[in-house]
Symmetry: C2
Subunit: 276 residues, 2 copies
Amino acid sequence: MTAGTQPSEIRRITSPANAAVKEVRALHQKKYREQTGLFIAEGLRILSEAVDQGHRIETLVILPQMREHRVGRRLVQACLDGGGQVLEVTEAVLAKVARKENPQGAVGVFRQRWEGLSDIDARGDFCWAVLEAIRDPGNLGTILRTCDSIGAQGVILLDQSCDPYSLEGVRASMGSVFGQRLAHASFDDFMAWRRGQGGTMVGASLKGDVDYQKVRYERPTFVLMGNEQSGLPARYEAACDRLVRIPMRGRADSLNVAIAASLLLYEVYNQDRRRA
Amino acid sequence: MTAGTQPSEIRRITSPANAAVKEVRALHQKKYREQTGLFIAEGLRILSEAVDQGHRIETLVILPQMREHRVGRRLVQACLDGGGQVLEVTEAVLAKVARKENPQGAVGVFRQRWEGLSDIDARGDFCWAVLEAIRDPGNLGTILRTCDSIGAQGVILLDQSCDPYSLEGVRASMGSVFGQRLAHASFDDFMAWRRGQGGTMVGASLKGDVDYQKVRYERPTFVLMGNEQSGLPARYEAACDRLVRIPMRGRADSLNVAIAASLLLYEVYNQDRRRA
């Protein structure tokens, strides 16, 4: 394809200093993500899943050779159909955009989706993760991925959380950030909302008084996890219907938060599928 | 304490270009870790646990104010008693050594401990994780931490693995790298050894034909996990006594490898503690 036959919405760019490329790269900064409400995701497969789930690609940054592939062509078409812009770039430019030496063919810019708690009716739902002041986006993304794997509805972030839409979070989620619902709230607002939802709110704690496998989890289950360093504050623990402990017998005195969350989420799922 | 009353083994260093400091910093490189057989760990608590478990501190890099604390004093004493050197450094130097803005008071240099498979008799053991070509040291460290939490014996690394003694691996393990046993081997050497050990070798696979909760795990259990990208090679799957599947029902088509390993390791542990 020669430059003359390109649709006007596809631009060829070879300089990482190009203004459109710089706008995409700015989304590595949380401040700029907050200002714009946008974020970036990477890789043909994940971008393709995002499109399948109805997310519009605002900007697609892609290597020219990817447009010869079925998935690449489909992404370009989806982007253009949705009114987005396509930037065809060199590998060097894409590596800058993805902050990665061998980027997986394409980077897409998407709009963040946050819901207000007041718009969420969880009463018929299966399960939500509720995370207090989680700090590491890798942990958060991994929890989103596990939530997706068990068919949970989404994640509610309490207090000052890290950003699920950071590239590290999006990467760790392996695309689950597109399928899971997301809300953030203060603990008080969450508790006010939670009272109308029924089900079980279960907290994981080293001080838990019952084995996590000895509790019957009723739908909707709210799985509440504390921050990596300090766990759940006492007030949050007191608000739980059940405070469970994941047994340990080695020298380690705690589990990684994404591991603990996943063990608890899978117990909820395992009970639910046995009852189904 | 004035400079004149310091034991000769404690050196005060203010320059990150100091030769002893540079030697410690070189341990961030895998090549230098391999040459020396040394590695670094960080944080008073983790260093303290290492000492408790009989690991000798070859070099202790510490802030002067830490020597006023009980744990800091104990580490300095343990290091000197073991014939190691103590480097008292500024915060700026420690930050360089730890590659971290707010390092947790001290960094220690330790000797790696690898065992040959031929020296390991697993017949009375509870559980080992066996990881094929794992790539991410964060995942590896997290799996070591879970192994430690269930009282497993250790981790056997097959083929080309990332380094459990990288700082990222040590950090993710939260000190469990000091408590768990470590070996690496080719798959063929592992299988030759494994034939004499009894127990159950179970692989996790998306192609697994049985639910991970429907298998009875006999001691010693060898939990075999594949690489992040490609899972277990067919030949490895064929060698397993049981090939299990961790059920999923969402859109995600796989779990993070540390999550999958931990779910399986906890199932082995949960069965074991129910039988106890």
